[in-house]
Symmetry: C2
């Protein structure tokens, strides 16, 4: 089958980015959210991203803004899935909400529609049955679409294997690098590895082995990259990092969760709040003298 019409459920950060990339790749895109304000914010955010891409990767801003104009923004489920070839669901990371969404859309989507979930840490088997078409259900998980361009394809045991090459091709058409996860795994591949790095860095800090700047420096200089684990945590958001950390039962994870909780209570949630481990918009790790 040839995918032409793409339906994105949920107009948050990731849904917005996937919808924009799909429009830039000449798909006919509809983005749905239950909240009309989220749709407005999504459209504005798309224009911001187009302007950033115009600077960073030479996208023609006019054709970018024109692509946004081709997108249908809707709070109507019926409009959202009318003639959809594929749904990519990016609603909030909550099992109950995702179940409700898939129960509804499973009933109203055309028979041809492929169902994919963009969940970060949940598993497709948790929603496949309630969608009413488990064989057409698969995880299709994007990272940030424009910088980190991996896309995870993770079937559950009931997924029709013929779906995999279709999703690989779809991922490539969105300028992503597809990888196939052969068995369901919380966090796919990359998030599992990233989680290990962040949790190890957090334990080094909690155990007072070194300060966070030295841990970041060590990572940056030896891997020759521009961000260390604490800078990455700031960009993810310390609320999210705390959430993952507090659910880990190791003693040193608990200590690191306590450090994060204290920071959050002081209003330090990372880049989005202006301060986390570092202060923004000019964090120390970006200053020329940091690696001295």
């Amino acid at each position: 089958m040839k995918i032409k019409n793409v339906s994105i459920l949920g107009a948050g950060t990731l849904g917005t980015r996937v919808a924009l990339q799909a429009a830039l790749s000449n798909y006919k895109v509809t983005i749905y959210d239950i909240n009309p304000k989220a749709l407005e914010a999504s459209k504005k955010q798309m224009a911001n991203i187009v302007n950033q891409l115009a600077k960073s990767s030479g996208l023609d801003p006019e054709s970018g803004l024109n692509a946004i104009q081709t997108i249908t923004f809707t709070d109507s489920p019926m409009v959202a899935v009318r003639d959809a070839d594929i749904i990519n669901e990016s609603v909030v990371e909550n099992v109950k909400v995702k179940n409700e969404v898939w129960e509804l859309f499973g009933q109203i989507a055309p028979e041809k529609t492929i169902f994919t979930t963009n969940t970060s840490f949940l598993l497709p088997s948790m929603f496949a049955e309630i969608s009413g078409r488990p064989e057409k259900f698969c995880a299709l998980h994007f990272h940030d679409v424009f910088y980190a361009k991996g896309v995870d394809i993770m079937p559950h045991p009931g997924t029709d294997p013929s779906l995999i090459p279709i999703l690989q091709e779809f991922g490539r058409s969105l300028e992503q690098v597809p990888v196939v996860i052969q068995k369901e795994n919380h966090g796919y591949l990359f998030n599992a590895m990233l989680g290990a790095i962040l949790s190890t860095a957090g334990k080094l800090l909690a155990n007072k082995i070194a300060n966070f700047e030295d841990i970041d420096k060590s990572y940056m200089v030896n891997f020759r990259v521009e961000m260390g684990p604490f800078a990455i945590m700031d960009s993810i958001g310390l609320d999210t990092v705390w959430h993952v950390t507090v659910n880990n039962n190791e003693e040193s994870s608990k200590s690191f969760a306590t450090i994060l909780r204290k920071m959050l209570d002081e209003g330090k949630a990372g880049v989005k709040s202006g301060e986390g481990f570092y202060k923004y918009p000019n964090p120390a790790f970006k200053s020329p003298g940091f690696l001295n």
Copy 2:
């Protein structure tokens, strides 16, 4: 104190690189090995590195080769430490051997000499007492000196704190980025984080979550780096990776160790043997189509 005379014990891969960088940084360098053949090989290896640096970072090859000529290569312990301001010990990662070396050099080194060990996973407190001068004993651990330019400074509880700024300054003078580890920790900072990445990747493979290429792809594309964990393992050497993995008690680490053992039995030890997870000198992960 001003460090002028640097004595390197052990003319293996890392000792050779530290000695060369010290000579390039205008220190008076002596490199010691019990085995004269290792000294010959070290000198040849230094010339190879100078030629590589001439290509990769614009080092003047003549001044590089001249720097090698200033180095004293010796199998005599007495010559090795005559007038040494600092010793950096890079002998084999074996407690018994390191103890013998520090017992000997503790007796014959001048009183002024600072003692440092370049151990990767052992702790300075294991050798501080036998050296006879625990207050002057500290870990000073290099990565690969010319590419990964971090240097770990890790005191043991008995190290004189005034040593730390001297070692930081010494590290900087060797064009390295020093970080201070406040409490002894196996693997310092970077090796602890690297170990977490490699062990998580190994478990993903052992648990058949994905093939090694997809795990590497996911890492490479989302972090935007040129090597994934399995490529890194090949460059470290699968014998070393096996050694670390087999000593980890988790079930999935044991399964990964079994995979590595089988590869080693087939002669696949990584880059140095021509094959590991990838085949060398032209591994698939470096081919332009790998991220498709």
